[in-house]
Symmetry: C2
Subunit: 313 residues, 2 copies
């Protein structure tokens, strides 16, 4: 079975771990969000790709869901001693090694997809991890009278200042990375995991050609709600949804993606049991527990998503 997943960071990474446990023999391609990418201290940082890679490769800090286990921060402390900002994104020492290799390979002319494949040779995530694009695309947040990089809004400001919208800088001319469109068109199932619908899944869909590929794939497309009981399971997706006028609810996000039959993207929508009764026009909605507190529970979620896909096929 060929499964293609559009993935953000922590939520997607945990979902993928469950998916891999549910169908260990499946051929999984992960199209990773690179809209959160940023260059700090000359290092090219791809938070979502790394979170997926570290999580599936067994190197993630389980407690926080991002970064490396057993991480230290000597380089960051030293940069601070030099007064070299910014200090709102704490780069761990181990993590910096990943960024050094990535930056060096990019500088040498390798596309991000090749760099990601090279890094995955060590981590062996058990999926094919492909960035949404080899071109630089960065999500910026429109605030009152200015715009800041998504990471600054998310990490430094904790999304406290209301966003008026998001700009995907570079998306207009970006092309999907090699293999991305084929992975969507040739999949048996396409899944939208419980990632941030705006700055993760939305950023991927903003790369010209990807939204269209999802809308046209012969494969069933099933999504899992990142909103449970009217709030994000984790993170601050509500701040993103509010900014684009989408209600922070399982129904709101389902309607935002929309049914393929009505010009949207989905053939099925999975919500948490807390949201049983959710209705989205034109879409079969199934409720199952959507809390990823263990690999087993997450595998059950993944199985439910695949079952729903089989039903709507």
């Amino acid at each position: 079975m060929r499964i293609t997943v559009l993935a953000g960071g922590i939520g997607a990474a945990r979902f993928l771990r469950g998916l891999r446990a549910a169908v260990p023999d499946a051929d999984v391609t992960v199209i990773g969000n690179t809209g959160d990418d940023i260059t700090l201290h000359g290092l090219r940082i791809c938070p979502d790709l790394d979170t997926v890679m570290y999580t599936l490769g067994g190197g993630i800090h389980e407690g926080q869901g991002w970064g490396r286990e057993g991480e230290t921060f000597a380089v960051q402390e030293e940069l601070a001693a030099y007064g070299a900002g910014p200090d709102w994104m704490h780069l761990g020492d181990r993590d910096i090694a990943t960024h050094l290799i990535r930056t060096r390979m990019l500088d040498a002319g390798y596309p991000l997809s090749a760099v990601t494949a090279a890094l995955c040779e060590r981590w062996k995530p058990g999926v094919e991890l492909v960035p949404m694009s080899d071109d630089r695309v960065e999500t910026h947040v429109v605030l009152e009278g200015r715009a800041v990089h998504f990471q600054e809004w998310w990490l430094a400001m904790r999304a406290a200042e209301p966003a008026q919208g998001f700009v995907s800088i570079g998306a207009d001319t970006a092309r999907p990375a090699p293999g991305v469109l084929d992975a969507i068109a040739g999949a048996d199932v396409v899944l939208l995991p419980p990632s941030n619908p705006v700055v993760s899944i939305g950023a991927i869909l903003a790369v010209p050609g990807i939204r269209d590929a999802v809308a046209r794939t012969p494969a069933p497309v099933v999504g899992l709600s990142p909103i449970v009981g009217g709030a994000p399971v984790r993170g601050m997706a509500d701040a993103c949804l509010t900014a684009i006028g989408v209600e922070t609810s399982a129904a709101g996000v389902g309607r935002h993606y929309g049914a393929r039959a009505e010009g949207g993207l989905l053939d099925g929508w999975l919500v948490d049991t807390a949201d049983a009764g959710t209705e989205v026009p034109g879409l079969p909605v199934l409720d199952v527990p959507l809390l990823m507190t263990s690999v087993q529970l997450t595998a059950a979620m993944a199985t439910a998503a695949l079952d729903l896909a089989a039903r709507v096929r």
Copy 2:
């Protein structure tokens, strides 16, 4: 008093600490060797500049004489886990912060001299530290049938394979960094500390214009022997001297620099008491203890060098 010092790494750094203690009010300009510089993992590394900066700034690992005190190696270990070589130059985490800032500033277009000044704003070495050149100059070692970067020969091979010579790549078109020639021409005293005469002092003198500036300065030029009792005080200078046909002795190095009166560089030569009786044609030779085992003893060496300079003026 304006003192200009041509400096390599550890030996020069320790000498400079003594010099600063001996004449705290002097205006000291240090022309640092950058021939040992290397780019590893995309990071621009200037070992000699950093050794001087850390030593005078109080950040040096006293025991080993290079690198930072309390250093950790998480990034290097992680690079090794990725299989990202080479592994023969162990970069410490704190040290990497320095290299990150330097690399970022160089990439942004700042010359190395400006970068060095910026780094010194933190360390406050109490001297003006200027690289010999803003242009890239790198010492490579000629071996049987091939040439390798000096650092590879020095660190990976421990200078065990005999050098047939040294090539200062880039030196032919390099220009002295801003201020270098003026610091030599306008000094009251020019000192050659007990640095490696070949790959440290020799690399500085290989930048067109610098040797000439030393030969023509109205200031007295006094050198201190890095060879005591026929052996280098530390390091493997003997392997370098042998490669260029210079005897590893206080007399050999003195003759290598030569008396200004006879077309050389020196007006005075300081050797260790173990080498009392050393004769160099045309040059006053003074013997004093040249072991830099404490700042006090080193200050006495520096005072002796300045006294000799005053005598030969």
